[in-house]
């Protein structure tokens, strides 16, 4: 940089406590210079594209700011600035896929995000038209059933681990098994559920309940872990206060411990639901693809939004655009459902959370 240090730094003073700092105009100059060089470099590298310019400018800016700061402000401030740049950069980097996914889903899902999409099914639809009513209902039924299966089990297991199984053999076995379950690939859960129901219903049996069982295999360990954490956070003082009033242990757990932890447990359950609501692979195997609404989870194929989205791309029909558009609209619907779930959990947790403390 050819800018002299005198222009961009405050004049040095005699007091040892006074800092020579980069002025606002100095900062602005570095930003401007980075951008200019960024545009120039990206032109050389193959055309001015906004993404390329910003990326190059960001790297240049980080380096230039560090060097200028090192010259003028000294080592400590320079490292501080470098770290601030790196941390901010990482944050933006992480944000990019999130924003990109949401934006792409909105952009491409909007085409079919209409009334018909929510009121019609895919029955008899070969090309354009049709809707996702059956898949939305299927998603709600299968995920809901999975939650019904795994929430009570998960909470009870966590209660056992925290309140009863103090470091005994059984509880350490359970903990290990829960850890192993956390690592089960979702396709394996799907195969498990499929083969389980084949035993009862014969080969090729696909149903909503089989999908729900597969999802609950994935959900339960998440719920156990989250609930366990929250129960351990409940102060022992509260349990003792309750015991000292002559309240039996089970009632202490039900009326004191669980209510105190309910906010966190709900958040954990929501996370677990969010984790499985977008599962595709196990449901392809266990629940299959249906074109029409199926309200009976016990028999017959049942489709969910991710599965519909998947088939929208794998077998789009003719013209293919119609299938693609439905696939994106299904993805967008799924994202909205998850966002609604998270918001609801936040609100409920806020309402139920212990009041008056700090």
């Amino acid at each position: 940089m050819s800018v002299s240090t005198v222009e961009i730094a405050n004049a040095a003073t005699t007091s040892p406590f006074d800092n020579r700092t980069l002025t606002a105009s100095g900062r602005a100059m570095i930003v401007a210079a980075s951008l200019v060089v960024g545009v120039a470099l990206s032109a050389v590298l193959g055309g001015v594209a906004i993404v390329r310019v910003v990326a190059i400018a960001a790297v240049l800016h980080t380096a230039a700011l560090y060097l200028a700061s090192l010259r003028i402000e000294g080592r400590r401030r320079a490292i501080d600035r470098l770290m601030t740049s790196v941390v901010t950069g990482s944050f933006v980097l992480v944000l990019i896929p999130l924003v990109s996914v949401i934006w792409t889903s909105i952009d491409r899902g909007a085409a079919r995000f209409d009334g018909a999409f929510f009121t019609e099914t895919m029955r008899g639809v070969a090309g354009a038209g049709g809707g996702a009513k059956h898949a939305i209902i299927g998603t709600l039924i299968i995920t809901g059933l999975a939650a019904v299966l795994s929430v009570p089990v998960g909470i009870l297991v966590a209660v056992y681990l925290v309140e009863y199984g103090q470091r005994n053999r059984l509880s350490s076995m359970i903990t290990t098994m829960v850890d192993v379950m956390t690592g089960i690939p979702s396709i394996v859960a799907g195969l498990f559920a499929y083969s389980l129901f084949v035993i009862f219903q014969g080969p090729g049996a696909r149903s909503g309940i089989a999908g729900a069982v597969a999802l609950s295999v994935l959900m339960t360990p998440v719920i156990v872990r989250a609930t366990e954490e929250m129960l351990r956070l409940v102060s022992n003082d509260l349990r003792e206060a309750s015991f000292a009033l002559g309240v039996p242990k089970w009632k202490t757990i039900v009326k004191v411990v669980l209510p105190t932890a309910v906010g966190g447990i709900l958040t954990g359950i929501t996370l677990a639901i969010a984790r499985v609501i977008g599962e595709t692979a196990p449901l392809l195997i266990a629940s299959g693809l249906a074109q029409d609404t199926n309200l009976n989870p016990l028999s017959g194929r049942m489709t969910t939004l991710p599965v519909m989205s998947y088939y929208g791309y794998v077998a789009p029909g003719f013209p293919p655009e119609a299938g693609y558009d439905r696939g994106w609209a299904a993805a967008l619907t799924l994202i909205i459902i998850v966002l609604v779930l998270f918001t609801a959990a936040r609100v409920i947790a806020k309402v139920l959370q212990p009041k008056g403390f700090r």
Binding site: S235, A244, P354
Partner: protein
């Protein structure tokens, strides 16, 4: 349920003479363990009914441990066990047919740190013991219990306008008095207090001390305190515990009326401790 007598769960019948009149606690040969570690050894003690008994002694000598063994709270801790007998009205609390839950309904406890239930309002906190133990209480009866317990614990005037506010929103001293209200709302016969004022300012401490002086007409009170003046101010009898060294069990050194314990105790260790020449 609450008024069910502990004695109904035991084989040996209560002697009719002292039934429900006095609640003298008789401790004999009490040894208290954490796993293999013996924390308190060979305590014999008589605790007078309707009076305040103070437990004093250096840190780690087992005062809290001893206090918690009086209402079977000790065994809540993993591997914690008790040997010996604690009799109230001649009924051994550690007898084979005694339900520890029933014991705790009769012998209430206030802890060092105030611990109101965070999910409950002030009123619900006071009612917690009754609500959690009984099926239902009528609205007017509940109101009466709340007011009485809060008046007894000197908190009524401060909170009567915000009974539905969360219990955690009170100051530390108010929270401690709320915990006392919660403990006395279940109408225990004995109240155990483990350093109830150690987290409190002098004014709240004074309030709780006055409270103890009132409560002793109704309840048998046992209080652990590190504050000699407090022991002198509130208690009729004082017990001094001591410990020979780390790893050794705490023992009851001597017990007498508070005046004697502070003026001319028989043991040198007691003399040293109450005059601050300990260690």
């Amino acid at each position: 349920m609450t008024n069910e007598n502990i004695a109904e769960h035991t084989v040996e019948p209560m002697s009719a003479a002292d039934a429900n009149t006095e609640h003298r606690i008789t401790v004999r040969g009490l040894n208290i363990f954490y796993g293999k570690f013996r924390a308190v050894a060979d305590v014999d003690m008589d605790i007078e009914p309707q009076s305040v008994t103070a437990l004093i002694g250096p840190s780690g000598c087992g005062k809290s441990t001893f206090l918690r063994s009086l209402n079977r709270m000790h065994e809540v801790i993993d591997n914690a066990t008790v040997e010996g007998t604690v009799q109230i009205n001649g009924v051994d609390l550690y007898g084979p047919k005694i339900d520890p839950v029933q014991v705790r309904r009769k012998i209430g406890m206030v802890f060092q740190r105030p611990n109101p239930f965070p999910t409950m309002s002030i009123a619900e906190n006071v009612l917690a013991g009754k609500r959690l133990n009984q099926r239902r209480i009528k609205k007017d009866e509940a109101d009466q219990v709340i007011e009485q317990a809060l008046r007894d614990s000197n908190l009524w005037e401060e909170v009567k306008d915000r009974l539905d506010a969360p219990g955690g929103g009170l100051s530390g001293g108010q929270q401690q008095r709320l915990c006392i209200a919660r403990a006395i709302a279940v109408e225990p016969e004995v109240l155990l207090m483990d350093e109830p004022c150690s987290a409190l300012d002098p004014i709240s401490t004074l309030a709780i001390e006055q409270l103890m002086l009132q409560l002793r007409r109704k309840y048998t009170i046992v209080i652990v305190t590190h504050n000699m003046q407090q022991a002198a101010r509130v208690s009729e009898r004082t017990a001094f515990f001591n410990i020979e060294g780390t790893g050794k069990p705490g023992r009851l050194i001597e017990m007498d009326t508070t005046e004697v314990m502070f003026a001319n105790p028989t043991q040198q260790a007691t003399q040293d401790y109450v005059t601050g020449r300990f260690g």
